[in-house]
């Protein structure tokens, strides 16, 4: 799909819920940082020089010798997209939110299946990303590895024998690799074990992230776990470490869900059905409330309390209900209260379509 089409569709492959353990692991992402040899890092570049980097990448993705490794890539300057289209790429997790700052000197490359994206002139000249559903880190690294080899047929990277791939921030030097998984952890939260587990993870050299709102909880019980260390470990070490830590968390989450279901069955069932009922019938929904309800419903689907609803639909909803997509679908500017009404209407329609 061309980029101008990709921004019209809420769906993306990572939402397909088809990888391993996809009821808990929403998606796996691997991202590597690469810089071109002999050119200062993006934060020092004037627009003209930045455009040279973009041009070099354009040549690299057109190199026929690399076509087999690269697949069907399309490059688009960020300035060719509307602000709304740029925001949709962020909401679909294809580019980072920071990438939207000073967008004039930047470009994005997407593979037509949306599995691979490249941010050009972010903090580094290239940030190559692969995003897959479920626990799929090895596959994601293999895909990145190939794309990287393909680009290298044309580009010279800034690399040192001792320090590896040179990056603008020393926290990325070495492999330049950041691998992450997005986890749904309502069981650990409800059983009040979450912070213990996340603290332990922190001690293993991994970073846990979630935006903390009013209280101290991540929205929708979603947490992103990623590696911190990029120097002195191979790409395989990094993915293996993250996989084994993720499996530990998965076991804890599964045990917590089982314990909840066995000891507090009515309470859990009540919670799930209330969420389903609210989503089905509410007339006004804020983003925060919706994410909380989707989290409960998702738990209900995973525990087979609710049938007929796929995890895939819920993944897609998480993107659809965000302001950018609501604006896209409605085709109009809305005030926050108008948006909350529109959001509730959209969710009702989506859930009515589910066979009872």
């Amino acid at each position: 799909m061309p980029i101008k089409e990709i921004v019209n569709h809420p769906h993306s492959h990572w939402m397909d819920a088809e990888g391993e353990e996809s009821d808990i692991v929403i998606s796996s992402r691997v991202r590597v940082a690469r810089n071109l040899a002999g050119i200062p890092f993006p934060h020092l570049l004037k627009k003209e020089k930045s455009n040279e980097v973009i041009h070099a990448l354009r040549l690299a993705i057109q190199n026929e010798e690399a076509a087999e490794l690269l697949g069907n890539l399309e490059l688009c300057a960020l300035s060719e997209l509307t602000p709304l289209e740029r925001q949709i790429l962020v909401d679909k997790h294809l580019i980072s939110p920071e990438f939207l700052n000073n967008y004039e000197a930047k470009a994005v490359v997407l593979r037509d299946d949306e599995v691979v994206s490249i941010m050009v002139n972010e903090e580094d000249h290239l940030r190559i990303q692969c995003l897959l559903p479920g626990l799929c880190l090895k596959e994601a690294w293999n895909i990145i590895d190939k794309i990287d080899d393909g680009l290298e047929k044309t580009l010279d990277y800034a690399f040192s024998e001792k320090l590896g791939y040179l990056t603008s921030c020393p926290t990325n030097v070495g492999t330049g690799m950041r691998a992450s998984v997005m986890l749904h952890l309502p069981g650990l939260k409800l059983t009040k074990q979450l912070y213990g587990v996340l603290n332990a993870i922190g001690k293993l050299g991994l970073t846990v992230r979630g935006l903390y709102g009013e209280g101290s909880e991540a929205l929708g019980d979603l947490y992103q776990i990623s590696n911190q260390i990029t120097l002195g470990q191979s790409e395989e070490d990094i993915t293996n470490n993250l996989i084994s830590s993720t499996l530990q968390i998965l076991n804890q989450e599964k045990a917590a869900r089982q314990a909840l279901y066995q000891n507090r069955q009515e309470i859990i069932e009540d919670r799930v059905h209330r969420a389903y009922g609210t989503l089905k019938y509410a007339r006004i929904l804020t983003l925060e409330e919706t994410m909380r309800l989707i989290s409960d419903l998702r738990l209900g689907v995973a525990l087979n309390i609710i049938s007929g609803i796929g995890i895939r639909l819920l993944n897609e909803l998480m993107v659809k209900i965000r302001p950018a997509f609501l604006k896209k679908i409605s085709g109009q500017e809305m005030t926050p209260p108008q948006r909350q009404v529109y959001r509730a209407g959209l969710i009702r329609k989506e859930l009515e379509a589910v066979p009872q």
């Binding site: 200062p40 800034a158 024998e161 935006l211 948006r339």
Partner: protein, 175 residues
């Protein structure tokens, strides 16, 4: 101050995010804040490492009191990035900054990564030599394993392959 999110309107809402005990702040306009406040997950602003890094670098480069006047310090010969600037931004200027500030970077890298030596992927083009060095290391490991298992014939093959590669290296070539 402009809004971090849309970059267009004046920022009036200041949010604090705490990740692994590090505090980061985002500054938003009223419009963006009303939706962003509670959203989060993958889209959350990344932990602002730059402030954090800048603090560390400042400490490592020994310039606890780098004032504005002497903010320059030494400058990278290629990109012109000065020590003081690196400290302030937490970012290096180009690939050459690494060898240029190597001595000062070492303790910092050790602190961040617990290590100062790359062991991962080596690019085929720019890293030809490094790729050979890595291949030799791999073969040496396999040689050791073969000896451990008393597979001397295989060990001899590995030894020959290592010698061959070392010779190419000495001759300045790439394998």
């Amino acid at each position: 101050m402009l809004c971090d999110h849309c970059g267009q309107r004046q920022a009036t809402v200041h949010l604090t995010e705490i990740t692994n005990g590090h505090k980061t702040e985002s500054h938003l306009c009223q419009v963006c804040a009303s939706e962003i406040q509670a959203q989060g997950f993958g889209f959350a602003p990344q932990l602002n490492l730059h402030h954090f890094m800048a603090g560390l670098l400042n400490h490592e480069l020994g310039g606890a009191n780098y004032g504005q006047q002497q903010a320059d310090g030494e400058k990278c010969a290629r990109c012109g990035m000065a020590e003081g600037q690196i400290m302030k931004q937490g970012l290096l200027g180009c690939g050459d900054c690494y060898p240029y500030f190597e001595e000062k970077m070492q303790p910092l890298l050790r602190r961040i990564h617990g290590n100062t030596r790359h062991t991962g992927k080596v690019p085929g083009r720019t890293g030809g030599r490094a790729r050979t060095v890595k291949e030799i290391e791999n073969l040496k490991n396999r040689l050791r394993e073969a000896v451990g298992r008393e597979e001397f014939e295989r060990a001899a093959q590995f030894r020959d392959a290592i010698r061959q590669l070392e010779k190419t290296l000495e001759e300045g070539g790439e394998a």
